[in-house]
């Protein structure tokens, strides 16, 4: 039984109403709202400027400032660092472009394996659980060192010694454990009634996951995944421990010869600049999801 089976018909003009003109009341309300908006913008600007000014004075007024400025914020070294650091960033981006998608797919497979039901899948489920438990707890830097230096030491036939490939592998192993857990949280947040509804249509377990549960689950966790990708993007900088020349390594080399730390600051800011679009993208996605779920409204 539905209360919505009485459809509306094309309107016949029952009474003639003149064209709408905003009332005095509406105009007054809008003027009031505008003035409130202006006021909050003014307050926000003033407080930001005040905080920035205080910070600036405190930092530049500190006794060690002139020396610190020279060692960490030297324009000369910054200019010199720009080219090699940018060059190094290409490697970071390549790593992100290859490892990111791999992690997203692998994580999903692991999460799906963890949710499989039935005794047949027990070994797979146990394996996936053990994988996640182990690699989520294992420090990334140790994993990197073990793989980058341990694998070549094994002297296996046909296995690469390339520190970039090995470093990327370590990132994939570590991050896919994290990402699998994000997916799993999403899968478990889908209400059981959804599974019931899908199974009642005759969909199999796999079809239910594929067409009903995962689409909802993934939509919910996209912001968390973007967050993980932003974090991965920074951690690509860790491959320098194996000798790969990325942005961090490039900066480090310059620091070693000049004892000026400005190149590292430049590299650090580079990572921030690269991460910002991703963070904004995640924010935008969250807002869009909110809008779609809300019935409209202002609360």
């Amino acid at each position: 039984m539905s209360g919505a089976d009485v459809d509306s018909e094309s309107a016949d003009p029952v009474m003639e109403r003149g064209p709408y003109a905003p009332s005095e009341r509406r105009l007054a309300r809008e003027a009031y709202r505008r003035s409130r908006t202006r006021r909050s913008a003014l307050i926000a600007t003033a407080s930001t400027v005040a905080v920035a000014a205080v910070l600036f004075l405190v930092v530049t007024g500190s006794p060690g400032w002139p020396v610190t400025q020279k060692t960490f914020l030297s324009p000369h070294y910054a200019r010199e660092a720009l080219s090699p650091v940018l060059h190094g960033f290409v490697l970071n981006l390549e790593l992100l472009a290859v490892c990111g998608p791999t992690i997203l797919v692998l994580g999903l497979l692991i999460a799906a394996a963890r949710t499989l039901r039935g005794p047949v899948f027990l070994p797979l489920r146990l394996l996936a659980t053990a994988y996640v438990d182990f690699f989520r707890g294992f420090p990334l830097i140790i994993l990197l060192l073990l793989i980058v230096f341990g694998v070549p030491a094994l002297q296996l036939q046909g296995v690469t010694n390339d520190p970039i490939v090995l470093g990327g592998t370590a990132l994939v192993i570590n991050y896919s454990a994290y990402v699998a857990e994000v997916y799993r949280a999403g899968i478990e947040s889908v209400h059981p009634s959804q599974r019931a509804a899908a199974r009642s249509l005759g969909l199999t377990y796999t079809q239910t996951m594929r067409f009903v549960v995962l689409p909802q689950a993934i939509r919910r966790v996209v912001p968390a995944l973007v967050n993980d990708m932003a974090s991965l993007q920074k951690d690509t900088g860790l491959v320098y421990v194996g000798g790969a020349i990325d942005a961090v390594a490039a900066a480090h080399i310059m620091v070693a010869s000049s004892f000026n730390y400005t190149p590292l600051v430049v590299a650090g800011l580079g990572f921030v600049i690269l991460t910002i679009p991703m963070t904004r993208y995640a924010d935008w996605l969250t807002r869009r999801t909110d809008r779609r779920r809300a019935q409209g409204g202002i609360v």
Binding site: M1, S2, G3, A4, D5, V6, D7, S8, E9, A11, D12, V14, M15, R17, Y20, P22, S23, R25, R26, R29, Y32, R33, R36, H191, S193, Q295, G296, G297, I298, V299
Partner: protein, 251 residues
Amino acid sequence: MTATDPVLRFESVRKAFGEQVILDDVSLEVPEHSVTVLIGASGSGKSTLLRCANLLEEIDDGAIWLDGEDITDPRVDADAVRRRIGVVFQAYNLFPHLNVLDNITLGPRRVHRVPRAEAERGALELLDRLGLAAKAKEYPDRLSGGQQQRVALVRAIVSEPRVLLLDEITAALDPELVTEVLSVVRDLKEQGRTMVLATHEMAFARDVADQVCFLADGVILERGTSAQVFGDPQHERTRRFLSRLSEAGRL
């Protein structure tokens, strides 16, 4: 209408979503201790009108008055207004992570600062009256639709709101359960609560309404006692709406 001031008053309310004008010029008075029933085709703006009254939507023009206060003035505290209005939604909207008792006492405890023991005593009393005392510790997902909706009604009235807004609260229920929910609404009317409800249950509307309003084209096209509107509709549109309903066996 009574000589006293209405509890809720809509004055030339206008609400548009983008280009689409949903409410064009709606004026309506809801006197104290009376039941106003909104009828109209699906999409005619009944829900929107109720959501505007609860300040879930911002109206574009006109005003809504609660106890003589213009609640659509941008200066009013919307939370304070909502404290005086009880709402029940079509989809119950119970909080799935809280049991029945906690669903009901959340408002009293967190908003009205009633001590837990006292809030729970009041809630249990109301639940008992609706035959739901045994479900106090259950979680919403384990209740039937009718039970969930009755819990939602308790949640809405437990803080003694000035007016209750009920939006098609039986639309998701099967007929058996409709009766049990509507009998609660009838009891609430007996207790003299002021209510505005949107419904497609015409038999019930006819029975319980002090005032029936037919919403179409963004205005209240026809308004009167249930005898007037159901017995002798003045407008062609109303007549057609009602005859379609009776064809569908809903009158």
